[in-house]
């Protein structure tokens, strides 16, 4: 439908006004404060050994979380949108839970399960695996808090697109896997794209839960968000903002990559 011109302009103005107050101006302020000391200072700030360690740790943890949650997210979306079973509302609710629980409690719950005095503590210690206060713990916390995104993005799209084509393919003799790969997956590409973007952004920006399970050992279990907090505590606000700008850059890059891939497909 083509919206009438006055309506279109009104919506555009409202949208932009909203964004200005609640997004553009705050983000502009962050970038302004970041680059106020100059690009050289910012570069120095993000290339200290601690910052480089934090950067790679954040990338590593987020990459794992994204891959894992994308695959499982699509699986869960299929179960919700294509499956025929009762109790979907229950799975829906459980999927949304990771957010409703305060981040500090997320961290503590992981310690209760995987920590040295936790449910699996003794067994893990015997096997020589350290989860809490080590990278696996950070990964677990990040996977936990980013769980809902891909499934929540993909499920409505799956429902919207409908399964006519999939049924047709099945009738023509395609196997389940072929149907999925060639029909379903392309139809949910934008859902996956935005799901990945959100998951990445959230994973790199996660602070509370990671703060509890990481142990904050500089150069080892310190993520970029933890580095931001440490710099803030040390009155290095410029350094804190610089590290935040790095996080913002990663998020922007992810969006760029995901939308470029999708755009190319549309033109194909």
């Amino acid at each position: 439908m083509t919206v009438s011109r006055p309506w279109q302009l009104t919506m555009r103005v409202l949208a932009i006004a909203w964004l200005l107050a609640l997004l553009l101006v705050p983000v502009a302020l962050i970038f302004y404060r970041t680059f106020e000391p100059g690009i050289g200072a910012v570069w120095d700030s993000i290339t200290t050994p601690a910052a480089i360690s934090a950067f790679w740790l954040t990338i590593e943890v987020s990459a794992i979380a994204v891959v894992v949650n994308t695959v499982l997210g699509v699986v869960m979306a299929l179960a919700l949108a294509r499956g025929r079973w009762r109790g979907k509302w229950l799975m829906d609710t459980v999927i949304d839970l990771p957010f409703a629980i305060s981040p500090v409690v997320v961290g503590l719950s992981l310690i209760l399960v995987y920590g040295t005095t936790g449910w699996f503590g003794r067994d893990l210690a015997d096997a020589g695996i350290q989860v809490i206060f080590s990278t696996p713990g950070i990964v677990l916390a990040t996977v936990f808090v980013t769980l809902p995104f891909v499934v929540r993005e993909v499920t409505p799209v799956l429902r919207e697109v409908g399964d006519d084509q999939e049924q047709a393919a099945a009738t023509l003799g395609a196997s389940g896997w072929q149907t999925f790969w060639r029909i379903t997956l392309p139809s949910i590409r934008w859902g996956i794209a935005y799901g990945v973007v959100l998951t990445t952004a959230r994973a790199i920006g996660e602070f509370g839960a990671v703060s509890v399970v990481s142990g904050k050992v500089s150069g080892e279990t310190e993520t970029l968000t933890l580095l931001v907090e440490k710099r803030f505590a040390n009155f290095d606000l410029a350094g804190a903002y610089a590290a935040s700008a790095l996080l913002a850059a990663i998020a922007l890059l992810t969006l760029l990559v995901m939308t470029t891939f999708n755009r190319r497909r549309e033109e194909a």
């Binding site: 962050i30 499956g83 839970l97 409703a100 305060s102 896997w177």
Partner: protein
């Protein structure tokens, strides 16, 4: 042997069951297991201690404020998020790509930076002359900032995929824009809007880092449940903290379920 080719339904059913099985296992290990640990911990002192912790005046006040402000956040996001998604998908204006790129930033930024920035913009030293820091409104502001992307990103992919044929058919039959929107587009978007709003609500309920900086954390006034829980942990009352967390979760579950029921009811009435 029959000559008719029967539709091969079995692979779909098998993979459906497989998807369900994997999903259940995954959710149980990653989500339910840690949450179960919290529930068990909350009952370490027996039901009496549990009840004492969750019925304390601060706990109740914090919970009420948290739920109300989170509902407001979700409701406002449902409207603004849909508006933004519409403008981003269906409109064209210079800088649209930039705006689209910035939408996710509230997620990527550490909550402390978000809090600091909002404090600078809307606090005592505000260049805009607006000082709402340390009020209930400040909490709403912080929540709107950090939950921005949810509804927008939820609606965008659906809006992109929506079948324009129905719209065009309706218009050619003489339906007004309003009718087309309310009866054709909105029902298609509703699951996505609700999904995004539900996530925004859930996140708002658990949000800690940005609120703790800008709200002042005054009990009975601007203290949210997550801050109260943090207080309990720092005061060596972990059982109380677990108990209040469990109640917070339960209430969130109820509200989320209601949001979904609302959606299903709304969708059914329109078709």
């Amino acid at each position: 042997m029959s000559v008719i080719a029967l539709p091969r339904r079995r692979p779909a059913v098998r993979s459906g069951a497989l998807a369900l099985g994997i999903s259940t296992l995954w959710l149980s290990v990653i989500v339910l297991l840690p949450l179960a640990a919290v529930v068990v911990r909350s009952l370490d002192g027996g039901v009496g201690d549990f009840w004492d912790a969750v019925s304390s005046r601060q706990a109740v006040a914090a919970l009420r404020f948290t739920i109300l402000v989170s509902l407001a956040t979700a409701a406002i996001n449902a409207v603004t998020g849909t508006l933004l998604a519409w403008v981003l998908v269906r409109d064209r204006f210079p800088g649209k790509k930039v705006v689209n790129a910035l939408i996710d930033l509230p997620f990527a930024l550490p909550t402390i930076v978000a809090g600091l920035t909002l404090l600078a913009l809307y606090g005592p030293n505000s260049p805009l002359g607006i000082d709402v820091a340390f009020t209930q409104f400040a909490v709403l502001l912080a929540l709107l900032f950090v939950t921005q992307p949810f509804v927008v990103r939820s609606v965008q992919p659906v809006l992109i995929e929506v079948d324009r044929e129905m719209e065009e058919a309706a218009i050619s039959l003489g339906a007004s824009n309003r009718t087309v929107f309310l009866r054709i587009i909105l029902p298609n978007l509703l699951p996505a809007i609700l999904s995004g709003a539900g996530l925004a609500f859930a996140r708002a309920v658990g949000e800690f880092g940005s609120i703790v900086l800008i709200s002042g954390n005054v009990p009975f006034d601007t203290q949210v449940s997550s801050v109260y829980i943090f207080k309990l942990i720092e005061s060596d009352a972990p059982i109380g903290a677990a108990a209040v967390s469990v109640v917070l979760l339960l209430v969130s579950v109820i509200v989320l379920a209601l949001i979904r029921l609302l959606g299903r009811w709304g969708a059914r009435h329109d078709r």
